[in-house]
């Protein structure tokens, strides 16, 4: 990837972040790579208003915001997605917590959402890739949150082989089949076989392939 080029098509973004330092940094970062931040706000109420006004391609929001300094940003994100099911939302969080991520993924149909640790914005290329994936309707969960989940062995995940769990973890991080092949150093056919087996073992209802992938990730997060 050449720097300063958008990873995906230019997006109109509404950004909610209460720390001025980070807000300015994120605006600079997104705009440098061709996206347009149509509104940058500092609390949940202003976020709702900005989304209603601008109808953006993507919402990027912090979890903890004024006035309560609790999980207002996340709640606003969940509400927004319930009101506008297709709205892509990327939540930036300081917490490696399954419950926050699970709430977000449960909103709407679970597609077009992302839950990333704020640290991840430092890894510029990963961050921009996640922005693109979420805007296109994919699902991205921070590797750190995924790692925390891998150790858990609960039904129905208990039925998966270790290799299948690895593949599912990478799916949760929002990787494509090709990316999973590279990561695990296996053939694309093998990955497809694993994914098919995962979808079968998780008893997911027949649906479009990409949607079933999202459902598999949701199962993974709900544990």
């Amino acid at each position: 990837m050449h720097p300063d080029r958008p990873v995906t098509a230019p997006l109109r973004v509404v950004l909610a972040e209460d720390s001025v330092l980070l807000r300015e940094g994120l605006i600079g970062l997104l705009e440098r790579f061709g996206h347009r931040v149509v509104a940058a706000v500092g609390d949940a109420g202003a976020l709702r208003a900005a989304v209603a006004e601008h109808v953006p391609d993507l919402v990027v929001t912090d979890v903890r915001m004024p006035p309560g300094q609790s999980d207002e940003g996340l709640r606003a994100a969940v509400e927004l997605r319930e009101a506008r099911p297709g709205l892509p939302v990327l939540v930036l969080s300081q917490y490696v917590q399954r419950s926050y991520a699970a709430d977000l993924l449960d909103s709407g149909d679970g597609s077009g959402v992302g839950y990333l640790l704020k640290d991840r914005v430092g890894q510029i290329e990963d961050f921009l890739a996640a922005v693109g994936t979420v805007a296109e309707g994919g699902t991205v969960v921070d590797p750190e949150v995924v790692r925390q989940l891998i150790g858990r062995r609960r039904d129905p995940l208990a039925r998966l082989t270790p290799r299948e769990r690895e593949v599912l973890a990478l799916m949760a991080e929002g990787r494509s089949n090709a990316a999973i092949c590279r990561e695990l150093v296996v053939s694309e056919a093998a990955v497809s076989k694993h994914i098919g087996s995962i979808l079968a073992k998780l008893d997911l209802p027949p649906a479009e392939q990409s949607h079933r992938r999202v459902l598999a990730v949701l199962t993974f997060l709900r544990g």
């Binding site: 399954r98 419950s99 430092g122 510029i124």
Partner: protein, 430 residues
């Protein structure tokens, strides 16, 4: 301890104050209730004594020992007629546990119960005649004297004043009425003194003693301290979150951008990559640190979600069954959370278990949490600081820790904290 009534006696405006009337009201109420109690007690003792032959009476006699509890409560209420600077408080402890047996156990062992019984016996046998006599002498005698002219006018010929003097003419009657008025004013002093004396005695017998007061004050100050610690942890967490953490994220972002700008494979790119990695590690450590100081998920989502998060992180797989119908106070949530964290850490370090189980319930006014495992057992609170620290943590919120860990296992840790729950829904803002 000079009470309000004693002080009122010494003030110049005493006769115009409500204190004489308060005293009359107090003595009438205590005298009346004492008389009634006396009759009931005699009746109760006769019935119980009779039934003792057939054994049913024995529990009744035992129950009679508790009659002081409601009567002392009544006496404390009546004391409000003669208000003092410090209101009298119940001297009883909270029972050790829920249910009637625990209540009975606590009450029978308390000194306060027996002091109150003594007070009740005194009121039933000795005090009520004094109360009623005092009111009779100080109120009815002067009133009778005052009424003499009216009675004479009604009768027309003669009046038997106090069944002693026979009065035939109005001047004498008027003189007696005047004497009654003076007597009424004069007797309100001793009357109030009797009421104040009785109130002081009852206050001593049914109120808190000095050590009780000190313990009560200690408990309150400890609760304040616990809340202050909790608030301080939240403040430190907030400062770190709003300050260092945000700045480090911004720094990581700037380093990331700088790496994109640096020529590939240059020395600068290498240095920047090192610095970038370093910042990433600092951020991860800081996140753990902040979570250890005050986990945000606990404030936002409450104890069940927070311990689910702990279970997620535990290297030993944990079966979780944790449900509460509401939210405990913040100090209890924090104590419970850190106790579970400590228990799971100990379990991972020492037990050698393959599987653990964590349950949480709220019943009978207590939060009960159990952590069990299939490990090798042998956990001993006497050795090592883990379990002792855990017990100390719980002690500040009146919680208890019980450990059963025979050699060879399994280990069961049970912690209980008395608390009341609040509405489950809204997240707690700071």
């Amino acid at each position: 301890m000079p009470g309000g009534a004693w002080q009122a006696l010494a003030r110049p405006g005493f006769l115009r104050s409500p204190w004489p009337w308060r005293s009359v009201g107090y003595l009438l109420a205590t005298g009346g209730s004492g008389l009634l109690l006396c009759l009931l007690l005699v009746l109760g003792a006769v019935v119980a004594g009779g039934l003792a032959m057939v054994l049913i009476g024995l529990p009744l006699l035992a129950a009679l020992a508790l009659v002081g509890l409601p009567y002392a409560a009544l006496e404390r209420r009546l004391l409000r007629l003669l208000p003092d600077r410090t209101p009298v408080e119940s001297p009883h402890r909270t029972p050790d546990g829920p249910g009637l047996p625990a209540w009975l156990r606590t009450r029978y062992r308390e000194q306060a119960t027996w002091r109150e019984l003594g007070c009740t016996a005194l009121a039933a046998l000795l005090l009520w005649p004094i109360d009623l006599t005092a009111v009779g002498c100080a109120v009815f005698v002067p009133l009778w004297l005052l009424a003499t002219p009216v009675l004479l006018a009604l009768d027309g010929e003669q009046v038997n004043v106090l069944k002693v003097w026979q009065i035939h003419d109005q001047p004498t009657a008027l003189a007696l009425a005047l004497a009654g008025a003076v007597l009424f004013a004069a007797l309100s002093y001793p009357l109030t003194a009797v009421a104040a004396g009785r109130a002081t005695l009852v206050r001593r017998l049914t109120g808190r003693t000095e050590p009780d007061h000190r313990i009560g004050e200690l408990v309150r100050s400890r609760a304040r301290l616990v809340d202050a610690f909790e608030a301080e942890r939240r403040r430190i967490e907030r400062d770190l979150h709003d300050g260092a953490q945000q700045r480090l994220v911004a720094l990581a972002m700037n380093l990331g951008l700088a790496r994109l700008d640096a020529p590939t494979d240059s020395l600068l790119a290498g240095r920047l990559a090192d610095a970038h990695r370093e910042v990433g590690q600092v951020l991860a450590e800081l996140r753990e640190l902040i979570n250890g100081i005050h986990p945000q998920v606990l404030a936002d989502r409450g104890l069940p979600e927070a311990v689910a998060d702990l279970a997620d992180r535990s290297p030993v797989p944990v079966d979780l069954d944790f449900e509460l119908p509401g939210r405990p106070p913040p100090a209890v949530e924090a104590a419970g959370y850190f106790a579970v964290a400590e228990a799971l850490a100990n379990l991972a370090k020492h037990s050698g278990a393959n599987r653990a189980r964590l349950t949480g319930r709220y019943a009978d006014g207590r939060l009960g949490v159990e952590v069990s495992d299939d490990g090798r057992g042998g956990a001993d609170p006497a050795r090592g600081t883990g379990l002792t620290g855990l017990a100390d943590r719980l002690a500040v919120v009146d919680g208890t820790l019980t450990v059963s860990s025979p050699p060879g296992g399994p280990t069961l840790l049970r912690l209980e904290i008395p608390c009341t729950l609040t509405d489950p829904s809204p997240p707690r803002s700071e």
